[in-house]
């Protein structure tokens, strides 16, 4: 296949998942603050999956730690945003 040299199925899946960030970005640009937070949370999940696929694509076990760190940090970030959106923002 032309232009696909060096790509494996994991990279193709990661590229396909990147398209899912576009709807998340659109949601983050429209609607109320809580709608935007939902878009941000989903974008964090999609990013985690992309990192997971890329770690396997490059075949480095240490890269999986990035996906794990992002999963935990996007959870903490979402909780902080939710807490502040309750009353203060």
């Amino acid at each position: 296949m032309i232009g696909m040299a060096g790509m494996n199925e994991w990279m193709v899946a990661a590229l396909a998942l990147l398209a899912g960030l576009v709807p998340c970005g659109v949601v983050c640009l429209r609607g109320g603050p809580v709608d935007r937070l939902v878009g941000l949370e989903l974008a964090g999940t999609v990013d985690t999956l992309v990192l997971l696929l890329l770690a396997q694509a490059y075949d480095r076990a240490i890269y999986f730690d990035l996906a794990l760190a992002l999963a935990l940090l996007s959870f903490a970030g979402g909780l902080v945003f939710a807490r502040f959106l309750e009353r203060w923002i």
Binding site: W10, L21, L42, F64
Partner: protein, 110 residues
């Protein structure tokens, strides 16, 4: 193509398709409560499918175990995050998140 490679590809396609449809669902729903439902397939079905694909490929090596760990973390934290977000949305709307007086008598929530 062996059966294992076929299973890996099928699991990857499942994970990607479920996530893309979740993103579309979040985009087309009307309010935050409706949107929140669509984060769950992306955080439960897709990570489990992708982690299963990694485990099929790598067995339970360091990579496989970490992939399973990521799937478990996403599946466990997403309901907590969803509850916190819905709670924030409700507090912004009504000033409190507990059941209100007019909802007590079997009325449907707004």
């Amino acid at each position: 193509m062996s059966l294992r490679e076929l299973a890996v590809s099928a699991l990857l396609v499942l994970g990607v398709v479920v996530t893309l449809f979740s993103c579309l669902g979040v985009l087309v729903m009307r309010d935050a409560y409706d949107r929140l439902h669509y984060t769950t397939p992306a955080a439960v079905v897709a990570p489990v499918a992708i982690a299963a694909a990694v485990v099929l490929e790598e067995r339970l090596s360091a990579a496989g175990v970490k992939a399973v760990l990521v799937a478990v973390v996403l599946a466990v934290t997403n309901p907590v995050l969803g509850h916190a977000t819905a709670r924030a949305a409700r507090i912004r709307q009504f000033g409190e998140w507990t059941v209100r007086e007019e909802e007590r008598e079997g009325g449907s929530p707004p």
